[in-house]
Subunit: 334 residues, 4 copies
């Protein structure tokens, strides 16, 4: 309340709180009276009270997320993929592959290479969200079949993105992990559908998502019954102009403190520059990520999509070698 708030104004606020079925707790202080609100489900819509006479400001002190919170589940969640991969169980999980599935040959070439270098999961886009309607949009179901064939040969479970509900039906059928991209982090219909899927979900952080928004989008998926959610930091949008996005690595310890869900980091989209992928990958492991998503292409300069941020199989193999030395420092095996 304002310093000069009258008893009547304080009563008015208390009444407004009651009217919402909350409970108000006045705290007389040296400078002013504060009023605590309890009994609210989720966050109070602060401004609703700010417009009342005598009110200086309103500050929410509780959060809307429940199922994703450590207050509901204290121990780390472990997400199982395929027969052998466990995310969040201590072993570092590396997802690698081309940005887009271009052909069976290209996908097999990259899949064999990343498998050989130590990747645990194969990534590759069959449905590509592109800024321009005139850019390559992916091979669709044909691409999913190619990914399945690559899994057949290499044994690597497949992670691929779904950009709409009908696409999600197909991805759920062909792939092992359903990816929800940054642009769809608040596509709530898609999140609900993913929450009804029988496969694990990788949820990428939106370009300007706060931690609460990120966790609430995961909450949408859990609230529909799918608890196998892996978060993924892929860079946020800032004024900073030397990388395509600004990789916000502090989100990893921030998520670990609040939520039991595992979190990956995608340094390929997070930087958008081939020469920054390895340094930021090392940083992501050192900061405590449960896994990495890295774009690898055997001929990046000819890639149909995001070639500039893809690294070569040779660079990837060298990177994995570095990660094998860093992982144990934070108690992870690789």
């Amino acid at each position: 309340m304002r310093k000069d708030a009258t008893a009547a104004e304080i009563q008015g606020v208390m009444a407004a709180i009651d009217a919402r079925g909350y409970k108000g707790h006045p705290i007389p202080g040296a400078q002013r009276t504060a009023i605590g609100i309890t009994g609210n489900k989720g966050a109070v819509e602060a401004p609703a009270f700010e417009s009342l006479p005598g009110v200086l400001e309103v500050i929410p002190v509780s959060h809307a997320y429940k199922l994703v919170s450590r207050e509901v589940k204290a121990e780390d969640s472990v997400v199982s993929i395929g027969r052998d991969v466990k995310v969040g169980a201590g072993a570092l999980v590396i997802v690698a592959g081309p940005c887009a599935v271009e052909s069976l040959e290209q996908t097999l070439t990259v899949a064999r290479a990343v498998k050989k270098a130590g990747a645990h999961l194969l990534r590759g886009g069959a449905f590509k969200p592109r800024t321009s309607p005139y850019s390559f949009q992916g091979l669709g179901e044909e691409g999913l079949k190619i990914l399945a064939a690559a899994r057949e040969e290499t044994g690597l479970p497949v992670v691929t993105e779904a950009v709409d509900i009908e696409g999600l039906d197909l991805v759920e059928h062909y792939a092992d992990v359903i990816q929800i991209g940054a642009r769809n982090m608040q596509n709530f219909s898609l999140l609900r559908r993913a929450g009804r899927a029988k496969k694990p979900v990788v949820l990428k952080r939106g370009m300007s998502a706060t931690l609460e928004e990120f966790l609430m989008s995961a909450e949408y998926i859990l609230s529909e019954g799918n608890y196998d959610v892996i978060l993924c930091e892929r860079g946020v949008r800032t004024f900073s102009d030397f990388s395509r996005n600004t990789l916000d690595l502090a989100v990893v310890p921030a998520v670990k403190k609040i939520s039991h869900l595992p979190i990956f980091v995608d340094p390929s989209h997070g930087t958008g520059r081939r020469d920054k992928v390895a340094p930021l990958s090392r940083a992501a492991v050192a900061v405590g990520a449960d896994g990495l998503m890295v774009e690898v292409h055997h001929d990046p300069d000819r890639a149909l999509s995001d070639g500039p941020q893809s690294i070569t199989p040779a660079m990837f193999a060298e990177l994995v070698g570095d990660l094998r030395q860093i992982a144990p420092v934070i108690g992870r095996s690789l």
Copy 2:
């Protein structure tokens, strides 16, 4: 190219340009040699070249948007809504109504009030994208029927949001204008569907969308054949903490310079604060917006959604009075 780039390196870059079917133009300069690229459709993927030996940096100088550009259509586009409303033809268009459709009575009460005060279109959400799965999500088709009933009585054409493809089918059926919200600005499947709709579309700018991304999302709609697109600035996400978003009014003259499409401003979402809606509405008209989208509720403190940013019918009527005086200064009628 770098100052120390060798002739061989320059040849290498020229070759890479040819390999893509582009044309390279070397420009020997005092400090270094620059190489111009032409013949490319849309933007060159800069980093693809940056990784070549001898290259200092690559700067795209052309854009991917075509149909939305004044280079394709020099004169302002005019979007017709219902029988009488023309957006972009010089008359300021005011869209007003509740954030969410809560009931027939509430919607009619607000619709009558805004009609009386001078609004041209009725807005109201039947499908609400909410950060939390536990928040009110809208009345769905029932809400669309209420909006149609309100149009029946008041004669105000209806603008309402579609959050997914099946919802868009319904919105196209019941409403006069289909709104694509900020969170779906890059939901490309939804944009494509909107591009096949027979109704005009209001496309809201994403929270962290650049001007190019904003225009490219409009390009998705136009490229499917729907040329009746109205852009809408509703605030971007920044560090600035005293309003829910930062209303980026400079986008209005920026859009006018590049594109022929009309643009609205939504000061309700753009500020998130009732006491800032009127000042920023005046500013939006003064900066040259073709119209405003304003949230009005007869009892904002009891609104089921975004009440804090809704103004009362009385505040709205006063605002319209102010706008009637400002509009003529920039050659608009109201």
Copy 3:
């Protein structure tokens, strides 16, 4: 406190609060116990408590600013400049002139033109903060003498920037208003010196300053005894790429709500583009600014500094004509 916080943990927090000489107020709630803190001067350093066992998070509810606050002084402050100009008294105040003082002739030419068009104050930089050490840095004291001569002839009081303490001594001697630029908003030694000056101060908002930081920098000046402070919004840095900065006009009503200090808007630096200066100037007046700072140059394309954002005397005269029609709408004379 966390839901699972023990009585002992709550006692521990209460003890930590006492140890700081504050007063703790436990508020048992349905979900958790909250603890209100009072008796603190200025903001509590939240994280100090967050690291205590059982604590979920800490939210500051009071602010450090005092003298700039309406809680200390409810009515608007009026800053007098020269004999006739009053800022914050209802009349719109227009500051115009070249970005940099280049010569007596250039300054007189522009000064006469802006005086004729209706400007109340003359602006012009003698000390220029430039990103590059190789750019024109201003004429220094010679420039101040030219500004004084221009005042002599036109009668327009002079506003000019001081970038360091010795420069401020000179600016205080020659000019009528001391400007502190955005880059120096948190140059606290300079703010302190300005607080001891006998002339009014225009304090520009830093490129990434929050409202609290902006007001606290003004508090530095007031706390030294100089109450004649005018705030100035000049755009903040965001990802938005079509203007040099993002003009954050919502700061005007935000400042008016919290502080009694008048506030200007600088659309020239706020946009960095000539073609956006007039639209954003109109918007700034419509949103409720007490005045404008506009860069005008008789030959912008040959200006030694920021020519691209300077408008011509003819454009300025036309703009003032528009502002004369908008100002009355919000109860300002011009």
Copy 4:
């Protein structure tokens, strides 16, 4: 140029280029004619040309920095501090100490602890830039004498911040390295003075500084003759709300690519949270930083400044242990 640019308009632009003493190179393309500009010292002021008829847009392709660039000096610079410390020579350099010097006893306690744990330099603030004029501002010269005494006993060279020119005289006298803080990154008078100092300088990145602005501020120092400059990333300001700033680690490889100067990372200010300092310190070393600046306090909860982001000597010792294992992975000794 615009697609519809006339030959006359192209000539006009060529003339404007000549008028500036630059050289224009027209490149006729499929869609439009582009004009390359060479012969310019530093960046062309793009907008000056954008306002000419027929011009679509102007894109600078050269940068203003010279002395800091690898184009001027290809090999990494090594900055020598005291007798033994070499920054940029391959060995990881750790700077540790309290945020503020509070007393001789406190400083000695922390200095002994960090020395024992493996720190190479002692940090501590005698002049503190604080947002509020009512916060502890540091002990001034008394603090510098305490730091000198701590160096006397521990042999650790001292790094401390100067916030104004007279303070810099004192810091240069008492300390081994002069720190320029983020708030003063564009305090050009202070940078010039630092450029004339006989001691190395640590220059912290401003809260919203682009890479070019950061390097240009270093250029100010080098251009005055002081080549011993160490850059330092300490977090930038974004919408991201779970850490005080967003640590932008990609700046490390970005700086390494363009400049020969060494770069530190400050995870204490970069996160503002004790529990994030260790993870981001590990990440900073993994990404390739030449050194770290870490705040350590033996009793953080009683620290007079920034206690919440300070770690304890025990946490610091454990962190150094981790860093000893990570450093070799990127070829650094520790």
